[in-house]
């Protein structure tokens, strides 16, 4: 394109079905656009993003020799890439395209009875976009190489699946886990709905696969300390927490041949400190040197330095293996990866905050995860279900669904549906009948959400087994002080009668919330959270695994409540998405970076400290000190450009003349 010729702009209005055309006059805006300076052609189409719509742009550029394209449609977040491609197809530089958002910022917010006003506003928006389009310049995106490695944070079933997929695709994968073992929440479960597969039987082989995959570097008891860099080149500093125990490899490296932890457990036997085991929800003891359970991966003991008294009994018991080092300190390691997947999972809400249900006030009110451990064959009772107050087998058990979910009263409660509580409570009801003949099961519910494949059929099965489904949310629970039985009060809304049901144990299907610490972690990766606290995906429908940070992806419950099949499916999706830049070998960065106009730069260096991405530095050029931009690090936020006292920083695609032209166009009201 010749630079010195008069700009020739094409304007295209999108009806977006009735999304836009239903609230303002497209024809009026098109007619108006034709009167604007530099506008050579103005056209409209029902769906500009469709093939015929894009072809209009392509054809117009060629026919009218356009220098710039304006599409007035939806948000650039949705279709800027689409129309840039169309602009490129027509033979123009893709950055010669400008979008006027007349949907989200106009028709959708002026939907009823504001036809004239919305039309006028659309004219303003188009006029401003044309003013900018006339001043757009060719920009060339910068390509950067992508490190052939990926990181997965969180080694639950989602993180493990993502790591296995990435690794099997030939990518070196770091699997980071904060606790001493991989496996996550799924390893705490007894059986899985609706197939009643034993959770351990399907999970532990996966754990072993992870452990021996040549491309997976499993790092347990490790946390993300710092994240620097950008897609393709993340430098991630990890804190390897002091475990107090050497692995066989670490021992060999230290010259202790044949040493290191072999998981024999002699140390734990002699350890005098007893603490509750968080894996068993505090219902079983562990020592200060411990493993969560027998199937941990890796089978390496861990010292809890918060409770260790350093009596050295374990060191003696370990003997020649010399695996225990009670003076071990946290270590920091930096790894370079191209992309990262967050799979941090969930916690139960502190359901004791709902005082009316009596959790932590009454012995026999337990959470669903505690029930899961109590009925699990490898749990603290060996799978013999007993109630906490007296160790007897409960013959009547109640399940409270939506315990804190679908509740917008604030506090610990959550407005969203936690999605899997219905199904696991049905499973719990089934396990009761399976294990305790003659028992009575009452399930208090509002709606049974059995939405997945073969879930509704599972519901039929449980109903047929005899569980009494009482449609009423539990109003309150009182304890009989003598028998420690519980009286559950609600209304059977289908019968229209208040009920008082006495049970021997009550299980609260507590709502879930993001894992403790997930908020700190997501901020390190620049990932946003949605209003409900879960990590925010790039698009809820079309990009559910991506985030607004390029190169960072989400898998599993950290993005929102999900059951195991959905978690695994999303993990595979995230792994696939995260492998694309790595397999491509390089990524294009948006050319929005800051540029130093060296003639104007005084080398004061104030911008260097302001930059939130550490993209700026001072350097020597032609014998003068000037600011130098590391383009790949710059996000084009404009902080430096807005601040520079000498006006020496040019923000590409958002230059002062371009912005000023837009402002002028707005205030001038189109009058020249």
């Amino acid at each position: 394109m010749a630079e010195n010729t008069e700009p020739r702009i094409g304007v295209f209005l999108c009806h977006c079905g009735t999304n836009i055309a239903g609230s303002l006059s497209i024809q009026d805006v098109v007619d108006y656009a034709k009167t604007l300076p530099y506008v050579t052609i103005a056209d409209q189409y029902q769906y500009m993003c469709s093939t015929p719509g894009q072809k209009k742009i392509d054809d117009a550029i060629k026919e009218h020799n356009l220098t710039g394209v304006v599409v007035a449609a939806c948000s650039p977040r949705l279709h800027e890439p689409t129309f840039r491609t169309a602009t490129k197809e027509g033979g123009l530089n893709p950055f010669r395209f400008e979008m006027a958002n007349i949907r989200e910022q106009n028709s959708w917010v002026h939907m009823h009875g504001m036809w004239e006003e919305a039309t006028e506003k659309a004219k303003d928006q188009v006029r401003m976009a044309v003013a900018k389009a006339a001043k757009l310049e060719d920009l060339i995106p910068k390509s950067v190489p992508v490190e052939r490695a990926a990181m997965v944070v969180g080694a639950g079933v989602g993180g493990m699946q993502a790591a296995l997929d990435l690794a099997s695709a030939g990518i070196k994968t770091y699997l980071i886990e904060a606790t001493p073992t991989i496996g996550g929440r799924m390893s705490q479960l007894d059986k899985t709905f609706p197939t009643l597969d034993c959770s351990q039987c399907i999970l532990t082989p996966k754990m072993v696969d992870v452990g021996r995959h040549p491309n997976i570097e499993m790092m347990t008891y490790t946390e993300v300390e710092k994240v620097e860099g950008y897609i393709g080149n993340f430098d991630i500093t990890l804190r390897k927490k002091a475990r107090g125990v050497l692995t066989p490899d670490e021992a060999t490296a230290k010259g202790i041949v044949g040493g290191g932890c072999n998981g024999c457990g002699d140390c734990a036997e002699v350890c005098p400190v007893i603490k509750p085991n968080p894996f068993e929800m505090g219902m079983a003891p562990r020592k200060a040197i411990y493993i969560y359970h027998a199937q941990v991966m890796p089978l390496i003991y861990t010292v809890d330095f918060d409770s260790c008294v350093k009596c050295n009994l374990c060191v003696d018991a370990c003997g020649d293996k010399k695996a225990i080092d009670l003076e071990m300190q946290d270590e920091f390691i930096t790894v370079k990866v191209g992309t990262a997947i967050l799979a941090t999972g969930f916690d139960l809400i502190p359901i004791e905050g709902k005082r009316e249900w009596g959790y932590k006030q009454f012995d026999n009110v337990i959470s669903s995860l505690e029930f899961e451990r109590l009925i699990c064959a490898s749990g603290p009772t060996g799978g013999h279900l007993i109630r906490p107050s007296d160790g007897k087998t409960p013959m009547a058990v109640g399940y409270v669904l939506c315990a804190g979910s679908r509740d917008n009263t604030g506090g610990v409660a959550k407005a969203y549906c936690s999605r899997f509580c219905c199904m696991y409570s049905l499973k719990h009801a089934h396990q009761m009948y399976e294990k305790i003949p003659g028992c009575k099961v009452y399930l208090f519910y509002m709606d049974i959400r059995s939405f997945g494949k073969a879930y509704e059929e599972f519901y039929y099965r449980i109903q047929n087994e005899g569980t009494k489904f009482i449609r009423g949310r539990v109003a309150n629970v009182l304890e009989d002080p003598v028998t420690k039985n519980l009286h559950v009060y609600t209304e059977d809304t289908l019968l229209g009668r208040p009920v008082d049901i006495e049970v021997e144990m009550l299980v609260l299907a507590a709502a879930i919330q993001p894992k403790e610490g997930a908020d700190v972690l997501r901020k390190k990766f620049g990932v946003s959270a949605s209003q409900d606290g879960w990590m925010l995906e790039a698009h809820p429908k079309l990009n559910p695994c991506g985030t607004t940070t390029a190169g960072v992806f989400l898998a599993g419950v950290c993005q929102g409540p999900k059951d195991i099949p959905d978690t695994v499916a999303q993990a595979e999706g995230a792994a696939s998405a995260a492998s694309i830049p790595i397999h491509m070998g390089e990524v294009e960065l948006e050319p929005y970076f800051a540029m130093c106009i060296e003639d104007l730069c005084a080398g004061c260096g104030m911008c260097v400290n302001l930059c939130p991405y550490a993209a700026l530095a001072l350097g020597e050029k032609n014998g003068r000190t000037v600011m130098v931009v590391t383009e790949a690090k710059c996000k084009g936020c404009g902080t430096c450009g807005g601040f520079c006292p000498g006006g020496a920083i040019k923000m590409q695609h958002f230059t002062t003349p371009q912005i000023a032209a837009q402002i002028d166009a707005f205030f001038a009201g189109g009058e020249q």
Binding site: R406, D407, G472, R473, A475, N476, T493, G496, V499
Partner: protein, 191 residues
């Protein structure tokens, strides 16, 4: 659809169509309640926490959940002519526990106001109104109470309008401002 008639009044009543028809609903009724109660009644999902919490429900046919449903559907006549409307003790347990943060008690209060506008109020409520007007007390002192108070070493009458009848005028002025006594008299007379 025209109702089928058997020409036998008893049978016609017995076999009348009891289905809920769209014509039974008055959307304005819902709007009036939302405005008066200032609560988000439309968000009710009929979970039953309210009735389960209600001290009145186990001992009567009063179902607060049912009134919430009538409010949302605009079943004005069914709600306002149901004598159960007056069985709420306004203890606010339902409001306290409602997971949708609705104030069902306030819906009941709004309905009672709308019922009053149609002269639908139980006799005892109106008589209470008259008692307050005349004595300053909904439950005036009586001889049994006086004896009990004396026995406890208290003055026979409490330090209220019973001891200072000159203040009854002020109470009457407030009640007159809202035409409460006037309406109570009129409705009771019409009975």
């Amino acid at each position: 659809m025209a109702a089928k008639t058997y020409n036998i009044p008893e049978l016609d009543t017995k076999l009348a169509d009891r289905r809920y028809h769209l014509t039974d609903a008055n959307p304005e009724f819902t709007q009036k309640i939302l405005k008066t109660s200032r609560t988000i009644a439309n968000m009710c999902y009929q979970c039953g926490t309210c009735t389960g919490s209600c001290p009145s429900a186990p001992r009567s046919s009063y179902r607060i959940r049912l009134f919430m449903r009538r409010c949302v559907l605009g079943l004005e006549d069914e709600a306002l002519t149901d004598p159960d409307l007056w069985l709420c003790t306004t203890c606010y347990s339902c409001t306290d526990r409602c997971p949708r943060d609705i104030a069902p008690t306030d819906v009941i209060m709004a309905m009672r106001n709308l019922a009053f506008l149609r002269d639908i109020v139980p006799k005892n409520f109106l008589q209470t109104c008259q008692l307050i007007y005349n004595s300053g007390h909904g439950v005036p002192n009586n001889d049994v109470n006086r004896a009990a108070r004396t026995k406890l070493g208290l003055p026979a009458d409490p330090p209220t309008t019973h001891s200072y009848p000159e203040f009854i005028k002020g109470i009457q002025k407030i009640i007159d401002h809202y035409g409460l006594k006037e309406n109570a008299d009129r409705i009771l007379k019409g009975d």
